[in-house]
């Protein structure tokens, strides 16, 4: 991007590597990030679904949270830190298994989503009472301030400024990652393990989570900044791996039906409206005890007034974020929050919010694109089947 001062932007430890790979850099959440490499968004997207893509997601916020109430590894340490976290989020944290990761949300007092995040519990007994958090880049400052403010007397927040995050996604991801980190291939979807890498004395502590943002099998690897480029180059040396930028990351997650915070989820939307009720634990639906519980419990019983749904436009014209959704008789019933062309779907795909009465799969609607109604149907998500490794 010419005529922009990139000196003002933050850089990830892979910045120089991106430039050497010929990336087109853009600003994202205050960082200079690769939007695409010379192969282009379409090829990067398809390569990820066919083999494996490497994504730099070091801009995301990583933190280790330590209980101040019970000593690490002592009985009750996990229960203590889980109880603290559960005051801010509706996920089932206390019964989260050792070595498991959970998708949940930070909530406002009004029950709106302040961010969506991953919360992971260590496997090792001596690490109980610690949790690993990964939050969105654009929200990390606010998220960590909220945790510090609300839980500062119960937990110690250790923001991992010294860590990068690399995602390896695609059907070949397990083969590639396990060549470098033996053991990773045995992990199942939504598990987290710590390893030493390279596997020699004084290797770096890497945290490997089997999850991602593409709908494919894959991993996110938290690695010290000092070892980030070394790991990225080792991954890129695998014949199955190509670098993939934020452009394809967005089209991949859209096809997978996954939310982009700030677009598909905002402080105004509840997790029930957002169609991510699975982020609210079963026990917690009954018990409450999280911000906005009253609204969320009511929406669970009565149904939300509006709902996030998938949309398949007819023809080839993509409907983008902001396009009005109308009923076939011309009434405004909602708005597209993410949309574009799905390279694997081979067709335009979108998601948006509609009044609950129009949320049933198969409902005919119109999307207003360049002033003209574009016929579309409400469709199930994901648009491309998830291929997670469940063992």
């Amino acid at each position: 991007m010419p005529n922009q001062d990139y000196n003002e932007l933050k850089k990830t430890p892979l910045y120089d590597l991106h430039l050497s790979l010929g990336a087109k850099m853009v600003e994202f959440a205050g960082y200079a990030m690769p939007v695409q490499y010379p192969a282009g968004i379409l090829k990067e997207h398809l390569h990820t679904r066919e083999k494996a893509g490497l994504f730099d997601v070091s801009h995301m916020g990583q933190a280790f949270l330590h209980s101040l109430e019970v000593e690490r590894g002592a009985p009750g340490a996990h229960e203590a830190i889980a109880a603290a976290l559960e005051t801010l989020m509706p996920g089932e944290i206390s019964k989260l298994k050792k070595g498991a990761a959970r998708y949940t949300v930070l909530l406002s007092e009004a029950g709106g989503v302040l961010d969506d995040l991953m919360v992971s519990r260590p496997l090792r007994d001596d690490l109980q009472g610690m949790m690993f958090l990964v939050v969105n880049a654009a929200r990390k400052k606010e998220d960590f301030a909220l945790i510090q403010q609300k839980l500062g007397d119960r937990v110690r927040l250790d923001i991992a400024h010294d860590r990068a995050l690399l995602a390896v996604q695609g059907p070949k991801a397990a083969a590639v990652v396990s060549r470098l980190i033996p053991g990773a291939a045995e992990q199942t979807f939504m598990t987290m393990r710590g390893y030493s890498w390279p596997a020699v004395d004084n290797g770096a502590y890497v945290v490997v989570s089997r999850l991602g943002y593409t709908g494919e099998d894959g991993f996110e690897i938290s690695v010290p900044n000092s070892h980030a480029e070394l790991l990225a180059k080792a991954l890129l040396a695998a014949p199955e791996v190509e670098p993939v930028g934020l452009g394809a990351r967005d089209s991949l997650r859209l096809e997978a039906g996954l939310c982009l915070y700030g677009h598909d989820l905002t402080p105004e939307t509840s997790p029930i409206e957002g169609n991510i009720a699975f982020a609210v634990g079963k026990r917690r639906r009954e018990e409450g005890g999280f911000p906005g519980a009253e609204r969320i419990q009511r929406e669970l019983i009565e149904g939300p007034k509006r709902l996030r749904i998938g949309l398949k436009p007819e023809g080839r014209a993509p409907a983008r974020e902001g396009a009005e959704i109308q009923s076939v008789d011309g009434q405004k019933i909602g708005e597209v929050t993410s949309g574009g062309f799905g390279p694997s779907a081979g067709a335009p795909v979108a998601m948006g919010y509609v009044e609950a009465g129009f949320s049933k799969t198969g409902t005919q609607v119109n999307l207003i694109v360049r002033g003209k109604p574009l016929p579309a149907i409400v469709a199930d998500m994901p648009f491309v089947p998830h291929r997670y490794y469940r063992g």
Partner: protein
């Protein structure tokens, strides 16, 4: 006649008594992989600078403006069926429309190849 260019990255070239119009190679590269093209109907009249066609890549939508005033006499439906052609041969087989100009002198204000290269290099 030689190819002329607009500041919005369209190219124009004479062909018989009409002018062929498309998007420049530079524009196609900037757009990235084109996935959708919408062309006007034959017979439609545009004034210079009017939105005439739409081209969308995976990431974004862009308007294509009429570089000169006139009537559409032919459109290239091949790029509607296969939008990727716009990336493959933007200044050849992937032309967009042919216009019969109402005021051919409007062409004088457009850039020649050298001026456009300088312009595109700085944009």
């Amino acid at each position: 006649m030689t190819v002329k260019y607009t500041e919005d990255h369209e190219w124009v070239k004479a062909e018989g008594d009409a002018y062929v119009i498309g998007v420049s190679k530079h524009a196609a590269e900037q757009l990235g992989d084109v996935v959708f093209v919408e062309l006007p109907e034959v017979g439609k009249t545009f004034a210079k600078g009017d939105e005439m066609a739409v081209v969308e890549s995976v990431k974004a939508a862009s308007d294509v403006y009429a570089p000169i005033s006139g009537d559409i006499v032919e459109v290239n439906s091949a790029i509607v069926d296969e939008p990727a052609k716009v990336n493959e041969d933007p200044q050849g087989a992937a032309w967009f429309v042919k216009i019969k100009p109402s005021n051919p002198s409007e062409l004088d204000a457009l850039m020649d190849e050298g001026a456009y290269k300088d312009f595109a290099g700085n944009s």
